[in-house]
């Protein structure tokens, strides 16, 4: 569909800029409270889609790819997965089983940092999903913009 009417994007942009920080805070809230309330790494992470799309709507494709480098996201995703495996291996290193919760000494039930390894695992999963979903969304936006996605950097 050809758009004949020129729109001033300032309203869109202001709206996005207003919501974007809230969205990001919400993501981190959900990830960090994964062990306390419904939610967790994945549920928080998928909200990244919304963030990427908001950025795209407000600032356009070029600005989005400038802010979120595809390669950096890719690298961070690998790091997050590696960190997850490392956390799981800590169980073995401490003389117990793989994935064993060995940091479970701090905090009382209901506190933010109260679940030991699980907290950190949530964080790594969150990071992994943020980056993963983020790069998928970026790719799709790239396709939408007729970019050569095969060589996206």
């Amino acid at each position: 569909m050809k758009n004949n009417i020129r729109v001033k994007r300032v309203i869109q942009r202001c709206g996005c800029d207003a919501i974007l920080p809230l969205c990001l805070v919400y993501i981190f809230y959900i990830i960090l409270h994964g062990h306390l309330s419904p939610g967790g790494g994945f549920q928080g992470g998928v909200l990244m889609t919304a963030v990427v799309i908001l950025m795209y709507l407000g600032h356009g494709y070029a600005a989005t790819t400038h802010a979120l480098s595809f390669n950096r996201l890719h690298g961070a995703e690998g790091l997050a997965s590696t960190a997850y495996v490392a956390l799981a291996m800590m169980g073995v290193a401490a003389g117990a089983q793989f994935c064993e919760n060995i940091l479970y000494t701090h905090g009382a039930i209901g506190q933010l940092y109260s679940s030991g390894t699980i907290f950190w695992m949530n964080v790594t999963v969150g990071l992994k999903v943020i980056t993963g979903i983020g790069s998928i969304t970026l790719l799709m936006l790239g396709v939408l913009n007729g970019q050569d996605v095969d060589n996206l950097k």
């Binding site: 995703e77 790091l79 997965s81 073995v92 117990a96 793989f98 994935c99």
Partner: protein, 638 residues
């Protein structure tokens, strides 16, 4: 116990074997930009995985121990499994061994083979994810974990099939595979959910304790769903067209993984499902199902292979044909049958891997796998030719290669079963198996004539032998093909018989996880007695003596009084005989080499050609129909 000693205890090795593969994948995603780092990481992780699996042979295969490993130390509470478990018995380890070896060789091959592709980082990430997925599947003791791993490996396999997405049909094959593979995965998921609803556990051992004897409609439907789900992973009929598409389009190293490793995961799932979860293999009808599907795969795929014009596609059909042997033998529910089936599964990975790698080498050097365009490569690629011939002889069951050793056991097992049960149907299976074998030989004669022998087309004059790394990978497979063929006694007694014994000791499997196995019949007496005799070493010795004698006589009588054209000297006696006509390029080969055979079966071949229409809807329809039939079967029979 100090943490270090704990960390080195072999109890942890299964999870290590899985995790090093995934870790390698993740690290390559981070550091894989550099070629050296990438290759080192990939090689390290596959070698480590292989080493961990090999280290497990002693306690598990030879010691008969069953490793029960609860992730996070969540041992069962109140008689219910609450954690995720790995459970490694000899059967799991057997398949893990196959996987580890195939992954290792395929990885070694990839380094040279994929050198000219871009996006190598993604390739290795996906490759290791695929390997990790299969490894996780076979070592897992948890049904839902198996589903996850099935998804991981399907995903990686689909992505890798489409990896060379500019090649003809790669995307198409990937899409078809994705659609039908996802139908299969959904089947597994729904089946798992229904079993959970009935038994409130996902642990395989506990399911094996609870399910038999408590079958109701829901669990029967779940059986059908799981069977079809794992069937799609093993590509048994009616899912064989997908295998053909996927193998043909994927890079050769991935074809090795798909045919040697992915199909095994499906077979593993079916064994776990029928022998362990439902323990219905003692039913004659259940044996009928497996043997029927196996024989059908065996025969349909070998005839389809005879009609193919593409090297890799032909190999793909053969792959499923051999899987048919495995399924048939496993479905017999005799110790010899299971042992033979597992032996053949192992051999299948070896020789099929070798053949796919040889096809990859041809593709790498010539840029095509079309049988009609190749020819005469034996002069240009002598090593590849020899390696290919070893693979071809193995798969067609020429003594003393490994295919013969296992096929021979399959025949013994089927015929023995026929005699024991008095059922003439099993006799038919023996005959089908023997005929399939010679048809396999025929199609490999076709390949060797069309690709390696005959005349060299002009376009292929520049072809060179492949690099050492690729030949090394093929050499490993070839060596294993010969060794496992020459020492069938060692292989059966140390590898396949412990695994086959594990198949028949469900009670130990359950109690090793800490559940009550009193309701399950204890291990029955298992006998691996053969009827026939076959001593490959003695045979080879005699053959060598005879060959030596003949050669001595031949040399003495000037057999080597050979004249071949040297240099540019022109003498018409060295030209081929053309009945007096002018010499011109005339290669006899290609897809229709055996028209004398096909002519008699033209109705059948036409029908099959129309059936394999290539439309994804048709394949999906086959899946749905298969699901409906198996569901009907299980509702009536179980």
């Amino acid at each position: 116990m100090s943490p270090v000693i704990n960390a080195l205890s072999y109890q942890h090795f299964p999870i290590y074997a899985i995790m090093v593969l995934f870790l390698g994948a993740f690290l390559i995603a981070v550091f894989g930009r550099n070629r050296t780092a990438r290759n080192v990481l990939a090689l390290l992780s596959i070698t480590a995985s292989l080493a961990f699996i090999l280290a497990l042979i002693r306690p598990v295969m030879l010691g008969g121990e069953i490793i029960a490993y609860w992730l996070g130390g969540r041992v069962p509470a109140g008689g219910y499994a609450i954690g995720i478990a790995l459970e490694v018995d000899a059967l799991s380890l057997f398949f893990a061994l196959i996987v580890a070896v195939a992954v290792f060789v395929s990885g070694v091959y990839s380094i040279q083979y994929m050198r000219h592709d871009d996006n190598e980082r993604e390739y290795y990430t996906l490759f290791l994810m695929l390997a990790g997925g299969v490894m996780g599947l076979v070592l897992s003791g948890d049904l839902f974990n198996m589903f996850i791993m099935v998804e991981v490996l399907t995903f990686a396999a689909v992505a890798l099939t489409a990896f060379r997405n500019t090649a003809t049909g790669a995307l198409e094959a990937a899409f078809k595979y994705l659609v039908v593979g996802c139908i299969g995965s959904t089947c597994i998921l729904v089946g798992t959910a229904m079993l959970y609803a009935q038994a409130h556990t996902l642990n395989l051992a506990q399911l094996a304790q609870l399910l038999p004897g408590n079958l109701n409609t829901a669990t029967k439907v779940a059986f059908a769903l799981l069977f079809v789900g794992f069937g799609t992973k093993a590509f048994i009929v009616p899912f064989h067209p997908l295998a053909a598409d996927a193998h043909g389009a994927a890079p050769a190293s991935i074809s090795v993984m798909i045919s040697g490793v992915l199909t095994k995961s499906g077979i593993y799932g079916i064994i776990r499902l029928t022998y362990f979860l439902f323990q219905t293999m003692n039913l004659g009808t259940m044996q009928f199902l497996l043997v029927f599907v196996g024989s059908l795969s065996m025969f349909i795929c070998v005839t389809m292979a005879l009609a193919q014009h593409d090297f890799k596609r032909l190999l793909a059909f053969h792959s499923i044909s051999q899987i048919g042997y495995v399924l048939t033998a496993v479905g017999l529910c005799t110790a010899l049958g299971v042992s033979a089936g597992l032996y053949h599964a192992m051999n299948h990975t070896l020789f099929k891997g070798l053949l796919f790698l040889a096809a990859g080498a041809v593709l790498h050097e010539t840029g095509t796998t079309d049988l009609g365009k190749l020819g005469g490569l034996s002069k240009k690629m002598p090593h590849t030719t020899v390696l290919f011939l070893i693979g071809a002889f193995s798969i067609s069951g020429i003594p003393p290669f490994n295919g013969f050793a296992s096929k021979w056991m399959v025949y013994q097992a089927t015929y023995q079963k026929a005699v024991e049960s008095g059922n003439i149907g099993f006799l038919l299976v023996t005959i089908i198996a023997l005929v399939t074998s010679v048809l396999t030989l025929a199609s490999f004669v076709k390949v060797s004539q069309s690709v390696f022998f005959g005349q060299l087309p002009k376009e292929l004059e520049h072809v060179k032998e492949v690099s050492f790394g690729m030949r090394l990978a093929m050499g490993i497979f070839a060596l294993l093909c010969i060794l496992t063929g020459l020492f069938p006694g060692l292989v059966t007694s140390y590898i396949t018989e412990p695994a086959a014994r594990a198949v028949f000791s469900v009670a130990q499997y359950i109690s090793a996880m800490g559940f009550d196995a009193s309701g399950v019949a204890a291990e029955s007496v298992v006998s691996f007695a053969h009827v026939g005799v076959w001593e490959p070493i003695s045979w080879l010795l005699i053959l060598c003596i005879a060959l030596l004698a003949i050669t001595i006589v031949a040399v003495a009588s000037k057999y080597d009084n050979v004249s071949q054209r040297s240099g540019e000297a022109v003498d018409t006696k060295y030209e081929l005989f053309y009945g007096g006509e002018a010499q011109e390029f005339s290669q006899v080969g290609g897809g229709d080499l055996f028209w004398g055979f096909k002519h008699n079966w033209r109705g059948y071949f036409d029908f099959m050609y129309r059936l394999h229409s290539g439309v994804v809807n048709d394949y999906a329809l086959w899946a749905v129909v298969d699901l409906a039939l198996v569901m009907l079967f299980s509702l009536i029979v179980l």
